[in-house]
Symmetry: C2
Subunit: 630 residues, 2 copies
């Protein structure tokens, strides 16, 4: 089977073509254990929670197998679908008879709940049958449908089984009858079905699904669902200049538009996507790749509005940011999208799941006093199966191909067998990435021929060196793909050395919350200070002294991580007790120099609770001005 994530193989406006999950065998110490934990811990525990919370019983109830009321939120079906998608993708990496058994059961439970007319949503059954499609803005029927389609497609690609795909097609045809061309004009309040419909077109070849997806984009911004920015209905998509509204909805919408562009080549869509992407990454994205500044409306905020303690940065929005940038990357082959994909993946998204794989964050603050802890589950449980399907999809995001050759997006030890125009090539990556920037690859083409190896040089890497077979050192430009074109021979060796010096980052001056503060980045990872590693001074009261930062591998810490250490002033703020404001310099703050230890942000909140902070105060030198001080 060939399980690709976004099947651009025949998409006329996609530069890159996918490499199936089955072709990539991860052998690294970072992702491979996470995929194992996904299969062994995350997906089984999520299954149990789907069962215990009545999510599966809602389907059995719809099928008439169990009695009682519908349980939970009206969009709970989507959690089941995302789990099916996650399990399917996980099985593409490695078979697991236990998971397969659970999957078969759940798929059967889903299929049995489908109405004769193709409709499938367990909330709108029995007493609520008459309310179907009566409130597109709020009731998430098309959103749930989209997740069903994605689950069905993943299952079909992994197993070849058509059962769920047939159900999806029946439902899609039902939706076509209701909302297709010439029928009722409707727009989903929560985008998702758009990208799912395009993928269903790719999987089935039925172009009417693509048309329906386009229709859902085209009808947006006409007030059909109230015209609010929250619902992204305030302006037609092609005219949007700013990314606003509910973060996950906004990013899913962009995924759908990108998918449509790759099939249709509609320049206005691409221009809008590019504008929105720039608006996001240059004005509205957390340093972790997280998106969503406001609890109110789970929304993207104004430009530079990026509060830390009250960051919303929903795990689902980080997943969506990966998904959107994956599509933009396939569309263009431009490294800037891979940079944001990697950033969101390793930081904002990965923080959403505990190291053990059984606890989740819904929101992801960038500073905390120790109260914010991961939960086993949520009443609104969109995030847990979303991060699961993302992790399951990692092997499918390592490589792509184009007519000129193979593209390397992510670095992780693996063996891959990739089909190119000139025949298959085996690639063997050796690397300790993300802990080390050294990547050694072996290239083993089935037959000697000319093709290109495109190596992604991350934007964060200001000093990269590439050698082929120990000869001709290249100094590639960061933030671009280095095209190595030659007649590759069996066991040609490519060595990529990416400098991974830890650096202090600062923010655009209008990010007022980060004034006088720095974040630590090393390679693709954003770091944070957690209290447990820094005894003796509240990490909120540490002020980093610019200077040498040391990266040290700690094999026993948090599953094996590289910590970053440096010097800081520890501020004794005890004289501030009982005061909130004071004339400048009236309250004395004593300082002493200490060594601080920072850990990757994704790993926080896996030990005892305590203060955490990403944007750490920067020590200021003793002042010639009367007031300025550390």
């Amino acid at each position: 089977m060939t399980t690709v994530l976004v099947d651009t193989a025949r998409s006329p406006y996609a530069v890159l073509k996918p490499v199936p999950i089955e072709s990539v065998k991860l052998e690294d110490a970072f992702w491979a254990p996470r995929l194992k934990r996904l299969r062994e811990v995350t997906l089984p525990t999520q299954y149990k929670l789907l069962e215990d919370t009545g999510r599966l019983d809602n389907f059995r109830r719809a099928a008439g197998v169990v009695k009682g009321p519908f349980r939970g939120f009206y969009y709970n079906d989507s959690d089941v679908y995302k789990w099916v998608e996650a399990v399917s993708l996980a099985l593409a990496s490695e078979r697991d008879s236990q998971l397969e058994k659970l999957l078969e059961e759940v798929v059967n439970v889903i299929i049995a709940a489908q109405d004769a007319d193709g409709y499938l949503n367990t909330y709108f059954t029995f007493e609520r049958r008459g309310e179907r499609w009566s409130n597109l803005r709020d009731m998430h029927e098309l959103y749930c449908a989209g997740h069903l389609f994605q689950a069905a497609i993943a299952r079909h690609r992994v197993t070849g089984k058509r059962d769920l795909l047939d159900a999806a097609v029946r439902f899609a045809d039902h939706i076509l009858e209701v909302f297709g061309p010439g029928r009722r004009a409707g727009v989903p309040g929560h985008p998702e079905v758009e990208m799912a419909l395009v993928e269903l077109y790719r999987e089935t070849g039925r172009r009417e699904y693509l048309s329906l997806a386009s229709r859902f984009i085209d009808l947006r911004g006409r007030g059909l669902i109230g015209g609010s920015p929250y619902h992204l209905d305030h302006v037609p998509f092609r005219e949007m200049r700013e990314l606003t509204g509910h973060a996950v909805r906004a990013l899913y919408l962009c995924c759908g538009a990108a998918d449509i562009y790759m099939e249709t080549g509609d320049a206005k869509l691409r221009e809008a996507l590019d504008r929105l992407w720039h608006d996001l990454v240059e004005r509205k994205m957390y340093v972790t790749g997280g998106v969503g500044s406001r609890y109110a409306g789970e929304a993207i905020g104004e430009a530079y509005e990026l509060p830390n303690e009250r960051a919303y940065a929903e795990t689902c929005a980080a997943v969506a940011n990966v998904m959107w940038n994956w599509r933009m990357l396939l569309m263009t082959g431009e490294a800037r999208f891979a940079d944001i994909l990697e950033l969101s993946l390793y930081n904002a998204a990965l923080a959403g799941i505990s190291l053990k794989g059984d606890r989740y964050f819904y929101t992801n603050p960038l500073a905390d006093r120790g109260r914010h802890r991961r939960s086993e589950w949520f009443d609104c449980a969109c995030c847990p199966p979303n991060i699961a399907r993302l992790i399951a999809s990692i092997p499918g995001m390592v490589y792509s191909t184009s007519p000129r050759g193979v593209w390397v997006h992510l670095y992780a030890a693996n063996r891959a067998r990739i089909e190119l125009n000139v025949g298959a090539v085996e690639l063997i990556q050796h690397t300790e990435y993300p802990w080390s920037g050294l990547v050694e690859m072996k290239v083993r083409p089935d037959r000697i021929d000319e093709f290109s190896l495109f190596l992604r040089i991350p934007e964060w890497c200001r000093d990269a060196r590439v050698t082929i077979n120990d000869a001709e050192e290249l100094r590639p430009r960061p933030g671009a793909y280095l095209e190595l074109r030659r007649e590759w021979e069996w066991d040609d060796r490519v060595r990529l050395e990416m400098s991974m010096e830890p650096v202090l980052l600062e923010s655009h001056p209008h990010v007022t919350c980060n004034t006088g503060r720095v974040a630590i980045r090393r390679g693709p990872l954003i770091y944070c200070l957690e209290q447990v590693d820094n005894p003796g001074c509240d990490v909120w009261d540490l002020a980093i002294i610019p200077g040498e930062l040391r990266a040290e591998y700690e094999p026993e810490l948090l599953g094996g991580i590289v910590v970053v250490r440096g010097r800081a002033l520890a501020l004794d703020v005890s004289d501030w007790r009982g005061r909130l404001y004071a004339p400048l310099s009236e309250v004395k703050v004593r300082t002493r120099e200490v060594t601080f230890t920072a850990i990757p942000y994704y790993a926080w909140a896996n030990r005892e609770p305590g203060p955490m902070i990403v944007w750490v105060r920067l020590a200021q030198p003793t002042a010639p001005y009367s007031g300025a001080r550390a």
Copy 2:
């Protein structure tokens, strides 16, 4: 008539006794014009809006005089009541036949809407009659009742007319029958009726109203309305250790508890109030005296959570902060409460209304890009009549008395005639406060006798000097009342000089949004930088150089204000274009020195839109550290 705001004349546990509005004739250039504008602009335009938005017709509809549906929110009656209270209090300062005519009409409209059983709420009439008292948590019936009581009391005190008071008493008796001792246990979702019931007890002498108010406090925290912090029902009031939840509800609740304490002397109430006050002013209050950090739930946030651009700081919460501190001041005679009262009044509250008196802020950010503008009205119009009744009540907050003498809380040119134990005294204040710290008072006792003049020395004033009849200079302690006890003679002169040097304030280090930032305070006023006064550089990009700050009176600017000028670095951040994060010092920021002009925060957004900021970046000296810079 003797219109007092909170009638502690016979309250056994109140240190201070009120001085009626009628006794104080403001003659200053700050408040007196505002009271005039209140009568001439604010209250007439609000009347028109009450009429145009159907708020008065809702009463006429309830009375059967007009037909049609109820209009607006279910709590809209309260806006009418607050307007009645504001008009009544304004008339206590100065008669106005036009306003009196409107008031009579509105009072008649209200009274006609009352049910035979005393119930009065225009939403729960006709088709909703059966839903009365069915949802105490959300439907604000007791909240509206409280505002009716306060309006009726004010009208009675100002005019002696019993009409609305009789209606209030009938409604209060109805509420007693429903929720009194031995009846149904209920708690209002939005506190307000507690303080109103205590005041109704004070006005009528009927102790059962005090008991009912106590009952509403005592039953809180038992889950009767759901047990959420938002509704302040998560813990019994006497056990509360942190001020949480909806800001206005929290502060109104504290007002009610303070009123009850002043009648009952319940030590547990006072301890809780003191804890909550410290929690607020030491951890959760904006530098303006504003309260409420979160849009989500209009809520008070965690300790030190004080975002600037997204400050909620509802105008009503600032009004409530004044009201609560007024009660705490009456209770204790402690200057710390007068300090917060003055701070909230001159800054957080006063910013809620335009200089012309016809536009309002609901939320009050401390930094803005120019989009936040005052509105003529709101669908939820709690703030406009609330700021109106606050301004109308100013003359009643200038003085109090105690058995030892007269207390001066606020400085403003005025003539007052105040009854003391030893006979009446006329006080004449000459001052340009808040623009100048010089206050000259004449004391004119009806007969020579010993009593004390308590002068409030604000906490912000680190250098105050007091002389009596040009002799014996005193250097009183800031943040306290200076007791001047003597046998006062006709035309004794007291001269108080409060140093009003502008100062830069900094925040507790855990207010992470204010790191590296300072605010400007001069006297009781907090300042801001508004773009229109600072051409050539975005005020968000100015960095104040600590050093001399000059206060200069500008008679033509914003109705006559003292501006604060000083030196700043103007940062040219144009190289940041298109970047959100960058390695420290990689993006060069050029600076040049400029003069900045700051205006009082209350006066912002009265000219053309543009960026505004309270917490201005502090210039840092050129750094011995590689990264630190302005």
